[in-house]
């Protein structure tokens, strides 16, 4: 009887020697994207997947993960789990998640499917196939999990349609589109390394922990289920960087340029996460700044300390991102607050307890710069003049975040930051040195950006009135605006028996 092979041998048998040299067509026509970025691969057999998952093990463990998740989803629905969260306002964080993040998972699925086709090494093909299937599983399980909330709350009904059209969703969409419109090596550096390795912990770990803190067991479960795959992706991302840099000395400079670019792109996307974490979770277990210090400063410090022997250094402008950590969520949430009349979620002034928590977590900035602003908004709301911004914001040509960031690294946190580039005698505006440098490196690419306010003004988004645009987004009137008095709040109060109408009804009985 044949002896069972050990793990190394099983992986080797699966990923080596199954390819062949094409004879009908030249190799560069069979793998047309493999060389044009300038990356030189000498020996694909040096590609190693440290987890050495074989196909049978992969399906076995993925099936087990799904079984666990779907058991939780069922019991969550059977126990009316949506009524056991801390507060209905919490759901607004989930709305941004399913509108902004789940479609990225699907985008990653398509991206890795393309890589599995474009890379000529069999180890890389297998790894990209598995990751492609993982990403599809993530978007599916997120949709399945959150569909229960869709029965009871607004804004969750059409995330993929929204993702392709809505102004704040162009922030995550444009980042992924940028990566997917690049060559295969830039894509994998962007998503597997800059996003998955350097920054994904900041998205999933505090957010899932926040879900646990707010009684949302369904989200915790899909989050952990996806995160176990992410650990595999991160590990692979690190291997890939080492593999590319070790293959040829010419690769180092190209890869470092991509790490710089995609770190900054992905960091700007996470501005939305910072607002969710600090402002949209009724109970936050950890502030954005704390998460940044653990998962970026500590973690990536150790990572690049290790990668230094390959000649790689920390991504450019990382110091700026660290200095901004005390301001980021406050600036981004202010934009969401001002424009939520045109959003698929509701916002509100933070409660007194929340503001005290923010003062404690942001001792250098919150009371000085941001508390007075929230107190002014609270006062306006009290007077029946809830503030919504009636104009359309100017948008950064690269990250597509409205121009809300300030000159923090220059020590002027109250001065708006913007940069201007000229290309073909037109002017283009960016929000920061990081975004300007990305624009200036490839202006031909970013002049094509689909900038939502420009598109609205050009008449490409359903019409000239806000109501026309909201219809184009497939938003219902009750989806956005102020949380107090919203349909979600009404539903919550009536389900918990403290609705005003409800108590009237009881009295009349």
């Amino acid at each position: 009887m044949a002896k069972k092979l050990n793990m190394r041998k099983r992986y080797e048998v699966l990923t080596r020697g199954l390819g062949w040299e094409p004879t009908y067509q030249p190799k560069e026509k069979v793998f047309p994207q493999e060389t044009y970025e300038g990356i030189k691969i000498v020996d694909w057999d040096k590609w190693e997947d440290p987890f050495r998952l074989t196909t049978d093990a992969y399906w076995k463990y993925q099936a087990e993960k799904d079984k666990k998740l779907y058991a939780v989803i069922d019991s969550f629905a059977q126990n009316n789990g949506h009524l056991n969260i801390t507060d209905a306002s919490y759901i607004n964080a989930l709305k941004i998640f399913i509108q902004g993040v789940s479609p990225l998972e699907y985008g990653a699925h398509r991206g890795y499917a393309n890589l599995a086709r474009q890379f000529s090494g069999e180890g890389a093909q297998l790894a990209c196939q598995m990751q492609s299937i993982d990403e599809l599983r993530h978007s599916q399980t997120q949709i399945h999990t959150l569909s229960h909330y869709n029965k009871h709350f607004t804004g969750l009904h059409d995330p993929f349609h929204m993702h392709d059209r809505v102004w704040y969703l162009s922030v995550p969409k444009s980042y992924f589109d940028d990566a997917r419109a690049s060559g295969p090596f830039e894509f994998i550096t962007s998503i597997s390394f800059a996003f998955e390795y350097i920054l994904t912990n900041l998205l999933f770990v505090p957010f899932m922990s926040g879900a646990a803190h707010n009684g949302d067991m369904a989200t915790v479960t899909f989050g952990f289920s996806a995160q176990s795959d992410e650990s595999r992706h991160m590990t692979l991302g690190l291997e890939i960087i080492k593999f590319i840099v070790e293959q040829h000395e010419d690769n180092l400079e190209i890869v470092q340029g991509w790490i710089d670019k995609h770190f900054w792109r992905a960091y700007r996307v996470l501005g939305l996460v910072s607002a969710m974490q600090d402002y949209m979770l009724p109970d936050s277990p950890m502030s954005w700044k704390e998460a940044w210090d653990i998962y970026f400063v500590d973690n990536c410090g150790a990572l690049f300390n290790d990668l230094g022997r390959y000649g790689l250094r920390m991504p450019k402008f990382h110091e700026q991102a660290t200095v901004e950590a005390e301001h980021l969520s406050h600036q981004v949430y202010t934009v969401l607050y001002q424009f939520s009349n045109a959003a698929g979620f509701q916002t509100t002034v933070p409660t007194k307890e929340k503001m005290d928590w923010l003062s404690e977590k942001y001792p250098n900035t919150f009371d000085k710069y941001y508390r007075p602003r929230w107190e002014m908004y609270a006062q306006m709301e009290k007077e029946g003049k809830r503030y919504f911004n009636a104009g359309l914001p100017q948008i950064c040509q690269v990250c597509q975040v409205p121009m809300c960031f300030t000159e923090i690294s220059k020590g002027k946190p109250m001065d708006l930051s913007y940069r201007v580039s000229e290309f073909n005698s037109d002017k283009y505006h960016t929000c920061s040195d990081g975004c300007k440098e990305i624009f200036d490196h490839e202006p031909e690419k970013y002049t094509h950006a689909w900038i939502p306010p420009h598109q609205i003004f050009q008449g490409n988004c359903g019409g000239a009135e806000i109501s026309d645009v909201l219809k184009y987004y497939n938003f219902n009137p009750e989806d956005g605006g102020e949380y107090h008095g919203s349909a979600d709040e009404q539903m919550w109060k009536s389900a918990h028996g403290n609705n005003d109408n409800n108590s009237d009804a009881k009295e009349s009985v």
């Binding site: 463990y61 899932m208 952990f224 995160q227 650990s231 991160m234 973690n299």
Partner: protein, 91 residues
Amino acid sequence: MSKDKLFIILQNTEDARPFTEAFEQENPNAVFKYDQPGMIRIENNGFLGITKEVVSELAGHEVELQELHLVLVSLSGHVDEDDDYFRLSWN
């Protein structure tokens, strides 16, 4: 902060228990943090590792180390894995 700090985060569940305890037993200097809901963060300088023998002993039955995937939340460092051990390190 030490420059070669490593971490692994596991779900705080019964299925993860033999793995968590093996990390405890086999890495005496590791620090265990329970401050985030639902998870256990295990930190050490330079190295973290477990063996199949210890995990199986703690579970009371034979465990395939790849079952770690079912309870893994996040990690850092280079992974070195085989049938009978799982290791994280910075080089």
